[in-house]
C-alpha cells in the first residue's frame, strides 16, 4: 500500500467511524444527561386529554405541556362533539389560566355587609362558610351558568335534602325554549342537533350556530361536511333573519325577515310541503286523515297569506319549500332569532314540524342511516345528571327570576354562586345586584374579580379547568350521553383551590356529612357507580385502571354501534300536534319613541362577556365588522343617513328600561328597522383589559319572556336612537393597501 492510498483509506475509516460513533454516542450520552423517567421527550412535551369548560358546549381537548406549562390546546380527535377541532375561545383558554388578574387568595368581608373584602386564609374562609351553612336553616341557593358539571351535582347532593334549597342557572337566553319545543316532538326534552352533515339543503331560521348557540364547533364541522365532504352534492344553506350574521355570511343567501315572523315562514313552507305530500302521495308513513288535519290547521298559513307580513314573496317561499320535498330530508335549524321572541316556543315547534315532515318524505330514499334520534336512553343520561349537573327542569330564566325575587325578599341566608356573572350579564331590570345585597351571605367561586364577585361576602378563588378535577355532561345529540372528564394538566398557578373540594369541606364544617373527602373521590365514586354501563371500558381493568383509561380518553361516550337505534325511532306520538301548528304574533316592549327593534347578539368567541379580559380575543377582529378592542352599535346605512349618523358617531340607544351609548357602525346586512349590539362589553370591574370598554347593552332589556317556556325574550325590546355628540375612530382591521371593501376579486 502506498502512502496516498493509506491516507485515503484512513480518512475514509475516520469519517465513517465518526458517523457511526456519532449516531451511537447521541443515544448513549443524552439519556445520561436527561434522567430516563417515563420515556417522555422533554422538548416535545406531554399531551393530556381533558375537556374545555370555556363555554357549555363541552368539546374534548388535548393539551400540550412542556416543562409543566400548558402550551397549546387542540381538539380531541376522538371526541364526538368536536372531532379534533377547537374554536378561538377554547384555544385562548391557556391565557385565562395564566392571567395576571387571577384571584390569588380568598377574600372576606370581615365586618359584614358594607365592609371591605380582605384577604383571609383558606382555613378561615372554609370555617366561615361552614358556620354560615350551619346557621342557614337550609335556606341556601346555588347558582351557576347552566353548565352540567360535577360542582353542580355535588351542591345538589350536599344541600338538596333540604326543601328550602334552590338550584338555578344563569344560562344563555332561549335555551329552555328549545327544550320545551323538543319535548313536544320527542319523548324527552332535548336540544336539537340536526343531521346537517348528510343533508343537501339546510334552512337556518335565525340560527347563529357558528358563533354562539349550542355548540359552534359541532355546527361548523357538520357545515363543512355538508358543503364539500360528500361526493354527491354540495350542501346549500339559506339564512332567514333580521341580521346578516357571520353564520349567515357563510350561507349561500341571506333573506331578511321582520323580527318575530320566522314562525310564519316555517308554517308557510310546511303548508307547501304538506300540500305536495297530499297531491303526490308522498310519505306513505303518514296517515291520510292526519295529513288532512294538518292541512286544515295550516290553511291560514299559505304563502299568499303570509307574504305581506314576512316580506317574502309567495314565489320565494315556494322555492324555499322545494328542497324539503325533492331533496328530503332537508333540515331546518332554529336559533336565537326565533327563541328570542315572546312567540319563541311555538315558532321552534313549527320548525320542528317542518323537519319531521321532510324526514318522513325522505325516509324511503335515505341511503345513509339517519342519525336523527339514535335510541334515546334518557334514563342513563338523567341518572348521570344526578351526579354531574342539574336536571333540565331546574334551568330556566323563570327560575332565575323567581330566585332573584326571593333573594330580594330575604328568603335565603346563604347564596353560592359559581362561575357566572349575573350582575353583569342578566337584564339590569332584573336587579340581581340589589337582590344580592339583600342576601345576608353570598359566597362566589370565581377565577377573576368581576361585577358579581365584587359584591360577594366571601370570594373563593377556583382553579381554572386546566388545573382542576371536574366532570361535565354537555348537551349533545338526543340520547347520546357524553361524559367529559376534566383533569389537572398544569400545577395550580395561584393559591386557588378546587371548588369541588371546598364545597365538600365547607359543608362538612357546616354539619352536612359527605361520604367523600374531596372532589377526586367524588368523581371516582361516580365512575365506579356507572362503570358497568360504560361498555367501552375493558372488563379486565381494575377500578384504578378504568379511571386511568377514561382519563386518557378524556371521558366516556358510547361508541357508534351503540348509538345506532335498536329499533327504528317511532314517530307515532308525533302526529298528536295539539297546539303546535300556530304562529302567534310576537309581542314587543314598545314605546312612543322606540321605532327600532333591538337585536342583541353574542359576538364570536367572547361568550357573554367572559372572554373580554383577554387581549388576544379583543385583538381578534370581529368577522363582520373587523373591529378590534372596541364596542359598536350596528344600524342600516339608510337608517343612519336618515338620522344623520356617520360611522364612529357616538349614539345613545334608549328603551323603557334604560339607555347605553356607543359608536355607530353602519352595516348593509341589517334590516332598516333593527339596531344590533354585541353583548359582553361594558364591564365595570373585570380587570384592566375589559373594564370600561364599551357600554353594557343589558341596561336596555326589560323582562319580557316567551309565554310558553318562560325564556327571556331578549329580542323583543324596542328602542329609540339619538346622536350623543362626538365621534370616535373605528379600529378596523385594515389592510395597509386599502380596506377590505367592495368586490376586490372573484372569490
Amino acid at each position: 500500500m502506498d502512502r496516498r492510498s493509506f491516507l485515503k483509506l484512513g480518512a475514509l475509516t475516520a469519517s465513517s467511524s465518526a458517523v457511526g460513533a456519532c449516531g451511537q454516542t447521541v443515544q448513549k450520552v443524552i439519556p445520561a444527561l436527561i434522567p430516563a423517567d417515563d420515556g417522555v421527550n422533554p422538548v416535545e412535551g406531554r399531551w393530556f386529554a381533558t375537556s374545555c369548560m370555556e363555554c357549555n358546549a363541552g368539546c374534548g381537548v388535548i393539551v400540550r405541556t412542556v416543562n409543566g406549562r400548558a402550551k397549546k390546546i387542540e381538539g380531541n380527535p376522538a371526541h364526538p362533539v368536536n372531532h379534533g377541532k377547537a374554536c378561538a375561545m377554547g384555544q385562548a383558554a391557556v391565557r385565562r389560566a395564566y392571567h395576571a388578574d387571577r384571584l390569588k387568595a380568598p377574600l372576606l368581608r370581615k365586618g359584614g355587609k358594607g365592609s371591605k373584602l380582605e384577604e383571609v386564609t383558606w382555613d378561615e374562609a372554609i370555617k366561615v362558610l361552614g358556620e354560615k351553612i350551619s346557621k342557614a336553616d337550609g335556606k341556601v341557593f346555588y347558582l351557576n351558568d347552566g353548565v352540567n358539571d360535577a360542582l353542580a351535582g355535588a351542591a345538589k347532593s350536599l344541600f338538596g335534602e333540604n326543601p328550602a334549597f334552590t338550584i338555578a342557572s344563569n344560562h344563555a337566553p332561549g335555551r329552555e325554549s328549545h327544550f320545551a319545543a323538543g319535548e313536544a316532538y320527542l319523548d324527552f326534552p332535548s336540544m336539537p342537533f340536526p343531521d346537517i352533515a348528510n343533508s343537501d339543503f339546510t334552512l337556518l331560521f335565525g340560527a347563529d350556530v357558528f358563533e354562539s348557540d349550542r355548540s359552534p364547533v359541532y355546527f361548523a364541522r357538520v357545515f363543512g361536511d355538508s358543503r364539500r365532504s360528500r361526493p354527491s352534492a354540495r350542501g346549500r344553506f339559506i339564512y332567514l333573519g333580521s341580521r346578516l350574521s357571520a353564520t349567515a355570511a357563510a350561507c349561500d343567501k341571506w333573506l331578511p325577515v321582520p323580527p318575530g315572523k320566522l314562525g310564519l315562514v316555517a308554517l308557510a313552507v310546511a303548508h307547501v310541503v304538506v300540500d305536495e305530500v297530499i297531491i303526490r302521495g308522498l310519505a306513505p308513513s303518514i296517515p291520510r286523515n292526519t295529513l288532512s288535519r294538518w292541512m286544515e290547521a295550516l290553511k291560514q298559513y299559505s304563502p299568499e297569506h303570509v307574504e305581506k307580513e314576512t316580506e317574502l314573496s309567495a314565489e320565494i317561499i315556494k322555492r324555499l319549500a322545494r328542497p324539503f320535498i325533492e331533496e328530503a330530508p332537508a333540515v331546518a335549524v332554529a336559533g336565537d332569532d326565533v327563541a328570542g321572541y315572546t312567540n319563541g316556543t311555538p315558532t321552534l315547534k313549527a320548525v320542528s314540524f317542518l323537519n319531521m315532515v321532510s324526514f318522513e318524505i325522505g325516509r324511503e330514499k335515505l341511503r345513509i342511516k339517519p342519525r336523527r334520534d339514535p335510541a334515546p336512553d334518557p334514563d342513563l343520561k338523567n341518572r348521570m345528571l344526578g351526579w354531574v349537573g342539574l336536571p333540565q327542569s331546574q334551568q330556566s330564566f323563570a327560575k332565575l327570576k323567581k330566585l332573584t325575587e326571593d333573594m330580594a325578599a330575604g328568603a335565603y341566608n346563604v347564596g353560592l354562586i359559581a362561575h357566572t356573572n349575573p350582575v353583569f350579564d342578566t337584564p339590569q331590570a332584573l336587579n340581581f345586584k340589589a337582590a344580592m345585597a339583600k342576601t345576608p351571605f353570598t359566597a362566589v367561586f370565581a377565577l377573576f374579580m368581576d361585577e358579581t364577585t365584587a359584591d360577594a361576602d366571601l370570594v373563593l378563588p377556583d382553579h381554572h379547568w386546566l388545573e382542576n378535577w371536574s366532570a361535565q355532561i354537555p348537551e349533545f345529540a338526543p340520547g347520546v350521553p357524553v361524559l367529559n372528564l376534566v383533569q389537572p394538566v398544569i400545577s395550580p398557578f395561584t393559591a386557588a383551590r378546587n371548588s369541588l373540594d371546598v364545597i365538600i369541606e365547607a359543608a362538612k364544617k357546616g354539619g352536612i356529612a359527605s361520604p367523600y373527602a374531596n372532589g377526586e373521590q367524588y368523581l371516582k365514586a361516580f365512575i365506579a357507580k356507572f362503570r358497568a354501563e360504560m361498555l367501552e371500558i375493558p372488563q379486565q381493568l381494575s377500578a384504578v385502571g378504568a379511571w386511568d383509561f377514561l382519563l386518557q380518553r378524556g371521558g366516556w361516550w358510547p361508541s357508534d354501534e351503540e348509538v345506532e337505534p335498536k329499533n327504528p325511532p317511532t314517530t307515532d306520538r308525533l302526529w298528536e300536534l295539539k297546539d303546535s301548528l300556530a304562529a302567534p304574533a310576537p309581542a314587543f316592549a314598545e314605546g312612543p319613541n322606540f321605532p327600532f327593534h333591538l337585536h342583541l347578539y353574542q359576538p364570536v368567541s367572547r361568550g357573554r362577556g367572559k372572554g373580554a379580559n383577554l387581549g388576544m380575543l379583543q385583538e381578534m377582529p370581529d368577522p363582520i365588522t373587523t373591529l378590534m378592542w372596541q364596542h359598536w352599535i350596528e344600524l342600516n346605512p339608510a337608517t343612519a343617513e336618515k338620522l344623520g349618523i356617520k360611522e364612529g358617531d357616538l349614539i345613545t340607544v334608549m328603551s323603557a328600561a334604560g339607555s347605553m351609548t356607543g359608536p355607530a357602525f353602519p352595516y348593509r346586512g341589517i334590516r332598516p328597522d333593527v339596531i344590533a349590539i354585541p353583548i359582553g362589553f361594558g364591564h365595570t370591574n373585570y380587570g384592566s383589559v375589559a373594564t370600561n370598554r364599551g357600554d353594557n347593552p343589558m341596561k336596555l332589556l326589560g323582562l319580557a319572556v316567551d309565554e310558553k317556556s318562560g325564556a327571556l325574550a331578549w329580542r323583543s325590546q324596542k328602542v329609540g336612537v339619538k346622536k350623543a355628540g362626538g365621534s370616535v375612530a373605528m379600529l378596523r382591521d385594515a389592510n395597509p393597501k386599502g380596506e377590505y371593501m367592495g368586490e376586490a376579486f372573484n372569490l
Partner: protein
C-alpha cells in the same frame, strides 16, 4: 438570476389549499396560529395607527346593497410564492426559498429594511416596530419550538415550520417517508369546518395534489407571476335555490 425553477423536483413541496366554500370566518385559525407561533398582540393604541399582527387573518368582503347583500371571508397568510417578490429584494438573504417550497424568514439575518414587506402583494409580512410586550400569561404559554422575534425584525407565516420539522423527524425515526396528513399547521389542525388542508404537493397521492387539480382551484394574483403555494377553492354556486 433565476428565481423560479418549475422543473426542480424534490421529495417535498409543501402546499396549502383553502376551501372558501367551507370558511365561516370564525377566527379559530387566527388564535390557533397566534398561540402556536408566539405572535404577540400589539394593543389598542397600535391598532389605532393601522398596525396589526396576525400571521393569518380573515379578510372580509361585502358585496351588494340591502337586501341583496353577500359577505365573503378569505383567510390570508403568507402565500409561500415560488417566485416570491419579497425574496429578490432582501439585501441580506434573510428571506429565501428553501428546497421544499417554503418561503423562509431567517430572523437573525434580518436587518429590518422592510423591503420585503413593501414588495409583498398580499400584505402578509409584519414588522416589529417595538420589542413585543408579553404579559405573564403569554410568557407562560410561549411555544419553546418557535423563537420570539425582537424589535426590527420582519416576521410572517412559516407554514408552522416547527411542525414540519417534527413530522419529518418522527417519520425518520420510524424509517418511512412523511405520510399525507402527518403534518398539520396550527390553522389547519384547528379549522372547525375543515376549510384548510396542508400537504406535500409532490406526493401525487396526497389530498392537496388532488384538490389543486380540481375545477375550483385558483391562486391569488396569479397574473403577477408569483406562483403561490397556497391555493384557494372558489366558494359559492349558481342556482342555489
Amino acid at each position: 438570476m433565476k428565481i423560479f425553477n418549475a422543473d426542480k423536483q424534490n421529495d417535498y413541496k409543501w402546499a396549502m389549499v383553502i376551501d372558501l366554500d367551507r370558511c365561516d370566518g370564525c377566527g379559530a385559525c387566527v388564535i390557533g396560529c397566534q398561540t402556536e407561533n408566539n405572535v404577540p398582540t400589539v394593543g389598542q393604541d397600535d391598532v389605532a395607527t393601522g398596525r396589526s399582527m396576525h400571521w393569518i387573518r380573515i379578510e372580509r368582503y361585502i358585496e351588494g346593497e340591502y337586501p341583496n347583500v353577500k359577505v365573503r371571508f378569505l383567510p390570508m397568510m403568507c402565500q409561500h410564492c415560488e417566485a416570491a417578490p419579497c425574496e429578490s429584494v432582501c439585501p441580506v438573504y434573510a428571506t429565501y426559498h428553501n428546497d421544499e417550497g417554503l418561503n423562509v424568514q431567517v430572523y437573525n439575518r434580518c436587518i429590518g429594511t422592510r423591503f420585503c414587506g413593501n414588495n409583498c402583494p398580499y400584505s402578509v409580512r409584519f414588522f416589529n416596530w417595538w420589542d413585543p410586550s408579553f404579559d405573564e400569561a403569554t410568557r407562560n404559554q410561549l411555544n419553546p419550538d418557535v423563537s420570539v422575534r425582537e424589535r426590527g425584525i420582519m416576521e410572517k407565516c412559516s407554514f408552522c415550520m416547527q411542525r414540519i420539522r417534527r413530522g419529518k423527524d418522527h417519520a425518520k425515526d420510524e424509517g418511512r417517508p412523511v405520510k399525507d396528513g402527518d403534518i398539520q399547521p396550527a390553522c389547519a389542525q384547528t379549522c372547525p369546518t375543515g376549510a384548510i388542508t396542508f400537504g406535500n404537493i409532490n406526493d401525487h397521492e396526497s389530498k392537496v395534489h388532488e384538490m389543486v387539480h380540481g375545477k375550483r382551484a385558483y391562486r391569488l394574483f396569479e397574473e403577477k407571476g408569483t406562483h403561490p403555494s397556497v391555493y384557494y377553492l372558489k366558494g359559492g354556486a349558481e342556482n342555489v335555490f
